[in-house]
C-alpha cells in the first residue's frame, strides 16, 4: 500500500463517499489511486474554488464533513477563498492538497507554494505530512477536528513522495490523542441555573439564534424551548431555517437588513438569549447600542466568542443542543402575552414589503416570494452575495434546518452555485435552488459544466439587475450617487450561456411569467437557469447603515429613519435620517442610458 491508497482507505473509514477537486502534478498519485477504486465518487470541477464551495455546500446541507482537493501551487491557492469562507462560517471541510516532493520543498520548485503557511491563519488546523505512515492518524485527527467543537476547515498538505511512498502496514487509529483540544466540555450546571433565573425574571425576552443551531442540529430542541418560555425568535442570516419561518414566535432575520420588528424587539428586549451566534457587526451595528436594555445569556461552544463583543451576564460554554435541552428541563413554562401583542403590532406596522410601482418592472422580491410559494419553503436554497442574497433571506422562508446555505462571514461572491451542487450531491432527493446575481454568478459559472456533466440538477434563479446591485445601493445611499465600477449591462445572455453548457436557460421579463417559469423549471429533470430581468433600481430595505443603530433604520427609499412605534422613548431622541441628502438625483440607469460614461 502507498500513501495515496492509505489516504483513500482512511477517507473511507471516515465515511467519505464523494469528493470534489482537480488533479495536477503533485497530486497525481492520489488521483491515480482514485481512478483505481469505486467507493469514492470523485467529482471533477472546473475550478478549485468551485470544489471548495461544493464541499462547503455538501457539509452545510448534510452536517457531514465535505472533502475537496487540489494540486500544489495554483490548485492550493485557488482553494484559499473557499477555505477562508469555511473558516468564517464554521463549516466542516477537509481539504487535501498535493505538494512538491519533500526534497524540493523550500526551493521554489515547479508549482511550489507554502500551502501550510498560506492557510495557517484561515484553518482550524493544518498538516504538512512528513511520513507516509502518518497519513491514517492525520486523516483521523483532521475529520475529528473539522466536525467537533466549533466546526471548521482542516487542511492536509501531502508531498508527492509521501503519497507515492510505501507504508509498511495500514493501521487506522480508533481514537485521537490531542491533548491541546477538548471540545466536549459539559456546560456548567450553575450556569444553566443562572440562565433559568434570568429567563424566569424576564418580561421581554428575545431568542437570538445563529448558525450554531443548524450546526448542532438543534432546531427541534429550539422550537420546544421557545414555545415553553413563549419567547420570540430572531435568526441571523446563517441561522435561517433553524426556526420555522411563519411560526407565530418567528421574528425572521435581525440586523442590517433584518425585519424592523426583529430589530425593534431586540432593542426593547430585557433579556437576549444568544444561541450559537457571535454578535457579528452586520447584526449589532454599533455594538454599544445593540439591545441596550438587555441582560445577555450567551451560549457558544467556542470560549473565545463569549464576551468577545458583548458582555454576557451568563456565559455558557457548551454544545447548544445539550444546553437547550438542559435549559428546557429546568425553566418553568411562561407566557408573554403583552410582549407578543406588542410585537404583533410591530409586525403589522412594518411588514416586509416592496413598492409595486405599477411600471410593470419585474420586482426581485416577487421572484423570491413566488419561489417560496412554489417550493413551500421545503427546498434547499443557496445564495450568492449581494442584494439578491438579502431578498432571499427576507422572502424565502425555509421551513427546515440546514436548508438556507449562504456565505455570511466572508461574503464570497461565487459561492452560491457550487454550494448548490454540493448540497444536491449530499441531499439528492431534495429540491435545490441557487439564488444568484448577475455579478456573483459570473464568478463561478464554469461549474455549469460540472453540474451538467455529472447530472446534478440544480435550479438557478438569477436576479439580473445588470449591475453589482449591492454596491450600487451603497453608492446611492452613502456616496451621493457617484456611480463607479458597477455596470454589468454588457452581460452575456445567460439563457444562451446555459444552453451552451447543455443546460436549459430561460429569460423572464414580465411579472406574470414568474410563477410559470418556476413551475416549468421544477418539472424539468435537468439543470435550469432562469434569467429574471429585474428592476435595476430596486434596493434592499429595511436597512440599518453599517455601525449605526436601530434608530437609524430606514424602511424604504425615502431614506427616513423611523422611530419605534409605541416606544417609551428610551434613547429615541437621537433619531436621525442617515442617507446623505444627495446633490445628484439621477438613477444609475438614467446615467447609463444617457451614455454618460462607462461606469
Amino acid at each position: 500500500m502507498d500513501g495515496a491508497e492509505a489516504l483513500l482507505e482512511s477517507l473511507k473509514r471516515e465515511g467519505v463517499d464523494v469528493l470534489f477537486g482537480i488533479s495536477g502534478g503533485a497530486i497525481l498519485p492520489i488521483y491515480d489511486a482514485l481512478g483505481k477504486q469505486e467507493d469514492i465518487w470523485s467529482i471533477l470541477t472546473r475550478h478549485e474554488q468551485g470544489a471548495g464551495h461544493m464541499a462547503e455546500g455538501y457539509a452545510r446541507a448534510t452536517g457531514r464533513v465535505g472533502v475537496c482537493m487540489g494540486t500544489s501551487g495554483p490548485g492550493a491557492t485557488n482553494l484559499v477563498t473557499a477555505i477562508t469562507d469555511a473558516f468564517m462560517d464554521s463549516t466542516p471541510i477537509v481539504v487535501i492538497t498535493g505538494q512538491v516532493a519533500t526534497p524540493n520543498i523550500g526551493k521554489d520548485a515547479f508549482q511550489e507554494c507554502d500551502t501550510f503557511g498560506i492557510t495557517m491563519p484561515v484553518v482550524k488546523h493544518n498538516y504538512l505530512v512528513r511520513r507516509s505512515s502518518d497519513i491514517p492518524r492525520i486523516v483521523k485527527e483532521a475529520f475529528y477536528l473539522a466536525r467537533t467543537g466549533r466546526p471548521g476547515p482542516v487542511l492536509i498538505d501531502i508531498p508527492k513522495d509521501i503519497s507515492a511512498g510505501p507504508l509498511d502496514q495500514f493501521l487506522y487509529p480508533e481514537t485521537v490523542n490531542l491533548r491541546g483540544y477538548n471540545p466536549n466540555l459539559p456546560a456548567a450546571t450553575e450556569q444553566i441555573k443562572a440562565a433559568a433565573k434570568l429567563i424566569a425574571e424576564a418580561r421581554q425576552p428575545v431568542l437570538y439564534v445563529g448558525n450554531g443551531i443548524n450546526a448542532a442540529g438543534a432546531a427541534d430542541e429550539l422550537l420546544k424551548l421557545a414555545e415553553k418560555i413563549d419567547a420570540p425568535v430572531t435568526t441571523t442570516l446563517l441561522g435561517r431555517g433553524g426556526f420555522p419561518a411563519g411560526h407565530q414566535l418567528s421574528l425572521d432575520m435581525l440586523g442590517m437588513h433584518g425585519t424592523a420588528y426583529a430589530n425593534w424587539a431586540v432593542h426593547e428586549a430585557d433579556l437576549l438569549i444568544a444561541l450559537g451566534a457571535r454578535f457579528d457587526d452586520r447584526v449589532t451595528g454599533d455594538p454599544k447600542a445593540f439591545a441596550p436594555n438587555a441582560k445577555v445569556i450567551h451560549v457558544d461552544i467556542d470560549s473565545a466568542e463569549l464576551g468577545k463583543i458583548r458582555f454576557a451576564q451568563v456565559p455558557i460554554l457548551g454544545d447548544v443542543k445539550s444546553v437547550i435541552n438542559q435549559l428546557t428541563e429546568v425553566v418553568a413554562p411562561k407566557k408573554h402575552t403583552q410582549w407578543l401583542e406588542r410585537i404583533d403590532e410591530w409586525k403589522k406596522a412594518a411588514p416586509l414589503t416592496y413598492e409595486n410601482t405599477g411600471t410593470g418592472k419585474l420586482k426581485p422580491q416577487q421572484v423570491i416570494a413566488e419561489l417560496n410559494k412554489a417550493t413551500d419553503g421545503e427546498a434547499i436554497v443557496t445564495t450568492d452575495v449581494g442584494q439578491h442574497q438579502m431578498w432571499a433571506a427576507q422572502y424565502y422562508n425555509p421551513k427546515r434546518t440546514r436548508s438556507f446555505i449562504t456565505s455570511g462571514g466572508l461574503g464570497t461572491m461565487g459561492y452560491g452555485y457550487p454550494a448548490a451542487i454540493g448540497a444536491k450531491v449530499g441531499c439528492i432527493d431534495r429540491e435545490v435552488w441557487c439564488i444568484t446575481g448577475d455579478g456573483s454568478f459570473q464568478m463561478n459559472l464554469q461549474e455549469l459544466a460540472t453540474g451538467v456533466l455529472y447530472d446534478i440538477p440544480v435550479k438557478i434563479a438569477l436576479l439580473n439587475n445588470s449591475s453589482l446591485g449591492m454596491v450600487r445601493q451603497w453608492q446611492k445611499m452613502f456616496y451621493e450617487r457617484r456611480w463607479s465600477g458597477i455596470d454589468l449591462s454588457r452581460c452575456p445572455d445567460f439563457a444562451k450561456l446555459a444552453e451552451a453548457y447543455s443546460a436549459t436557460g430561460v429569460t423572464i421579463t414580465e411579472a406574470d411569467e414568474v410563477a410559470d417559469a418556476i413551475r416549468e423549471a421544477q418539472k424539468n429533470p435537468g439543470t435550469v437557469l432562469l434569467n429574471f430581468m429585474t428592476d435595476a433600481e430596486e434596493d434592499v430595505f429595511p436597512m440599518i447603515p453599517g455601525g449605526k443603530t436601530v434608530h437609524d433604520m430606514v424602511l424604504d427609499s425615502s431614506n427616513k429613519a423611523v422611530p419605534i412605534p409605541g416606544s417609551n422613548g428610551n434613547g429615541l431622541d437621537g433619531a436621525t435620517a442617515t442617507a446623505t441628502a444627495s446633490t445628484y438625483t439621477s438613477e444609475w440607469t438614467d446615467d447609463i442610458n444617457a451614455g454618460k460614461k462607462k461606469i
Binding site: N182, L185, P186, A187, A188, Q191, S303, V314, I316
Partner: protein
C-alpha cells in the same frame, strides 16, 4: 451594558479539563493566583504580561503562536522557547505588552490552537525569572579594570577577552540585566544579545 447580575455566576466551579482553567464556566488562561501581582503598568491600560505557553513540539507551532500575537497587534517584548522535561512539549515564555481585555481575548485565541496545550498567565505568580545576556564591550587596557569591577558588583562573569574587547556574561532578573547594560554603555557596547525572560513558579507548584 449592565453588569448587575455578575454575582450569580461567581460561585460556580464547573468541571474542568486538565488543560484548562475555568472562570464562570468559561475556560481561561491559567493563573496560579499566588504571590504579588507582577504587573507593570504601562501607558493607559497597557501592561506587561509574562505568560508561559506549553505547546506540542511540532514544526510550525511558533508561527501559529506568533501569528496570534501579530494579528491582535501585540508586540512581543521577549520570547524564549525550549524543550521541557517532556521532549514532546516545548515551553514558550513570552513577555508581551497589551491592554487587559485584548490580552484575555488573545489568550483564548491561543488556547484555540490545537498545538497549544496550556497557557499560563503569570501576572499573580511568585516567580523566579531570569535572563541571560552576553555583552561585548569596547575595552582598552585603561577601561578593563573598571569594567571588571562593575561585573563583579553584578556577579557577572567575564567570558572572553581580547586586546580591545571584553565579553560579559550576565544572568539575572530583567531589571538587573538592564542595569548592567546601562552601566556598560559608557564604554561603548559593541554587540549585545539577551535570551529574553524565562520563568518558573517557586515551590512545588507547577508553572
Amino acid at each position: 451594558m449592565s453588569e448587575t447580575t455578575t454575582e450569580i455566576i461567581k460561585s460556580n466551579v464547573p468541571p474542568q479539563a486538565d488543560n484548562m482553567m475555568m472562570e464562570n464556566g468559561v475556560p481561561t488562561i491559567v493563573s496560579n493566583g499566588v504571590g504579588l501581582p507582577a504587573v507593570n503598568v504601562m501607558s493607559g491600560n497597557e501592561q506587561l504580561h509574562t505568560i508561559s505557553i506549553l505547546v506540542e513540539n511540532q514544526p510550525g507551532v511558533l508561527a501559529r503562536v506568533s501569528h496570534v500575537f501579530a494579528r491582535r497587534g501585540f508586540n512581543i517584548e521577549s520570547l524564549a522557547v525550549s524543550r521541557t522535561e517532556d521532549p514532546t512539549v516545548s515551553r514558550m515564555t513570552v513577555v508581551v505588552a497589551g491592554d487587559d481585555e485584548a490580552f484575555t481575548q488573545m489568550g483564548k485565541q491561543l488556547l484555540k490552537l490545537i498545538d497549544v496545550i496550556k497557557v499560563i498567565d503569570h501576572t499573580r505568580d511568585d516567580l523566579v525569572g531570569r535572563e541571560l545576556a552576553l555583552i561585548k564591550v569596547k575595552a582598552d587596557a585603561a577601561a578593563r579594570n573598571e569594567i571588571m569591577q562593575i561585573a563583579s558588583v553584578f556577579r557577572a562573569n567575564l567570558v572572553d577577552i581580547s586586546e580591545d574587547t571584553l565579553m560579559v556574561e550576565m544572568t539575572g532578573k530583567t531589571d538587573k540585566v538592564d542595569a548592567i547594560q546601562r552601566m556598560l554603555e559608557k564604554f561603548e557596547i559593541l554587540e549585545l544579545v539577551r535570551t529574553g525572560l524565562i520563568v518558573l513558579v517557586r515551590g512545588p507548584k507547577q508553572t
